[in-house]
């Protein structure tokens, strides 16, 4: 019961936050100079007063701002995000097209970051102040300091242009057709199609952008894992476990790791949320047809309906991930629920 109440409370907060974010977006669009009618309609539609009138009525632009706000929220609830100025297609459709590509890359990157980050963190903590520890710490600082657009250019230059060891930009090599859409993840869809070679090709295309994207988050995860492992390893219960003769490996993996992982889980969750925001650069450089590239093109063209759509989508993603992490937190650590 206590657990259900906790989850319910988090979900209500999520809903309130979502309305808040939508409100901020609305205020921003009102602050930005420019007439939404001229911004949203083509030159030909503008010369037809009937179309202009219909557009104004549909989005409530002939009403006072507060009424417009309710129209806006109503349209959002109906999942009507308007039409992209740049591509002339519904924003929702564009986002549906881009989203799986971005999520596939993001999930791949967070897996890389989590596996290596936690591994490096543990090694670093267990061999504190050794040479390995110093190297791992230096790598993690490099990870959070390297400008991702520069890193992306370097790996492309070295692994694609010079060594020809990795495929170049895009999601698939040009001689493969995209697999029939089931999940939108090319790797999974290729497997469902039963085409192992295509699966391999899609996977290879994930490696370079995935690693570039993972570098920053991996640095953060390494640091958090290291400092938490250090904290936990100096507690009394670990000393007790060691004193009663438990082997070191068992103490590390059974007693220490579980407790040290709780804050790391937050960092991984936040990392996944941040990855989606950091997609802009990596997707632009690797010609990855995802939300980041869409966002960049939209900002360049001042395509406000699309910008609003992308912002809402990423904010929603971030908050949903945050809420899931919070709930998991409460499930793993009963102390959190009581706060």
């Amino acid at each position: 019961m206590e657990r259900l109440k906790f989850i319910g409370k988090r979900l209500v907060t999520l809903l309130i936050m979502l309305i808040g974010v939508a409100t901020i977006v609305f205020i921003l669009t009102k602050l930005v100079p420019g007439d939404p009618v001229t911004a949203n309609l083509s030159q030909r539609s503008l010369s037809d007063p009937k179309i202009v009138e219909a557009y104004k009525v549909r989005y409530g632009l002939d009403k006072p701002v507060i009424v417009q706000y309710f129209y806006y929220i109503r349209n959002l609830l109906r999942l009507d995000l308007g039409t992209s100025i740049r591509t002339n297609r519904p924003v929702l459709e564009e986002l549906k097209r881009c989203y799986p590509a971005t999520m596939e890359l993001a999930i791949f990157a967070i897996l890389v970051a989590a596996v290596f980050g936690v591994l490096f963190g543990i090694i670093s903590a267990l061999r504190r102040n050794s040479v390995i520890d110093q190297i791992v710490r230096a790598i993690s600082v490099v990870g959070v300091s390297i400008p991702s657009f520069w890193f992306a250019l370097i790996v492309l230059f070295v692994f694609y242009y010079k060594l020809r060891a990795m495929p170049g930009p895009g999601r698939l090599s040009s001689f493969y057709a995209a697999p029939p859409t089931v999940t939108g993840f090319y790797t999974i869809d290729a497997l469902l199609q039963g085409n192992i070679m295509k699966f391999g090709d899609a996977l290879m295309h994930l490696i370079l952008p995935g690693c570039v994207l993972a570098a920053f988050t991996m640095g953060l995860i390494t640091r958090t894992t290291r400092s938490n492992m250090l904290d936990v390893m100096s507690t009394d219960y670990i000393r007790t476990a060691r004193a009663k003769g438990a082997p070191k490996r068992r103490v590390v993996f059974h007693h220490a790791l579980g407790n040290a992982m709780i804050p790391v889980l937050t960092v991984i969750g936040l990392g996944l949320g941040n990855l989606l925001g950091g997609m802009v650069l990596v997707e632009t450089i690797f010609s990855w047809p995802g939300v980041g590239q869409f966002a960049y093109e939209s900002v360049k063209a001042l395509d406000y309906p699309s910008i609003i759509g992308v912002s809402l989508l990423i904010a929603l993603n971030y908050m949903v991930i945050n809420t899931i992490v919070d709930i998991l937190y409460g499930v793993i650590d009963p102390r959190v629920r009581r706060r």
């Binding site: 959070v144 991702s148 370097i154 802009v280 900002v299 912002s311």
Partner: protein
């Protein structure tokens, strides 16, 4: 004092390295007009896209401009943008967070939700939007970065204030009849500032990266300003001429590494719990 300084640097290699790197860039930026061998914006098409040589240490770009000189001048923009952004965001965030934490109750709740809403936006996209809407120049880029950066400081400050508030000396000050403002400014603020400073140093590297990212995306100053991010993006079109994008990128990277080393080192020094373990 001197002994204290010695202790500060001893055994803390990363911190020392960070200080050396940052000092190097500060010197480069301050004395750019003396150190740089060429005018950073003077074009000379007869020597365009030349590989690094004795005459042009880092080679030349597509307008025949000396990349070494441009990198040295570029430090001015990155350092200034980074430091100013962090200072202003820190000031706004600290006051906001301290107020929220000290006042508490419903006001605290509302204030924190507002900052969380800004945090839940993708920072890069928010900064891009603000910049695109206002028009891109150095000032607007920094404005966008500040808008995105301050809520993190507010959250940290609030949590620190909540801890500090429970101390007995606050209770003592309240019992003595000190006003809320006095307690906030004279008791809580000085005792909360060390964690904020650590965060600010780590954030400096971040802001330098964000600034160069925006300028890479064409949302910084207009050309021909020698901004590092913009120089890297110039290099994208000359993929096989690695020096055009390579050296400015290396400059961003080293400056960010320096700032992060200092931030890490400071955290180790100021956090007594970690120090005990070391």
């Amino acid at each position: 004092m001197q002994k204290g300084l010695k202790n500060l640097f001893r055994g803390n290699y990363l911190f020392t390295a960070g200080c050396v790197i940052c000092l190097f860039w500060v010197v480069m930026a301050v004395f750019a007009h003396i150190i740089a061998p060429y005018d950073p914006i003077a074009q000379n098409l007869s020597v365009k896209l030349q590989a690094p040589s004795a005459a042009h240490l880092f080679g030349t770009d597509n307008f025949g401009r000396d990349i070494f000189s441009r990198v040295i001048y570029g430090g001015r923009y990155s350092l200034m943008a980074g430091i100013l952004t962090v200072l202003i965001a820190m000031a706004i965030g600290s006051v906001y967070g301290a107020a929220a934490g000290y006042i508490g109750g419903a006001i605290d709740n509302v204030m924190m939700r507002i900052s969380e809403m800004i945090l839940s936006f993708p920072s890069l996209i928010l900064a891009m939007c603000i910049n695109a809407a206002l028009g891109s120049n150095l000032f607007n880029t920094m404005f966008a970065l500040i808008i995105v950066a301050w809520p993190s400081y507010a959250r940290l400050m609030r949590s620190v204030v909540l801890t500090v508030k429970e101390n007995q000396y606050i209770e003592a000050a309240e019992a003595l009849g000190a006003s809320r403002m006095r307690i906030l400014l004279h008791e809580i603020f000085p005792n909360s500032i060390s964690s904020i400073i650590v965060m600010a140093t780590t954030d400096l590297g971040n802001q330098i990266l964000m600034f160069s990212t925006l300028s890479f995306l064409g949302l910084g100053s207009a050309p021909p300003t020698p901004e590092w991010g913009m120089m890297v993006s110039d290099g994208v079109s000359y993929f096989n001429k690695f020096w055009v994008a390579g050296f400015p990128g290396l400059a961003i990277f080293t400056m960010a590494v320096g700032a992060n080393f200092i931030g890490d080192g400071l955290r180790d020094i100021l956090d007594p719990k970690l120090r005990k373990q070391m």
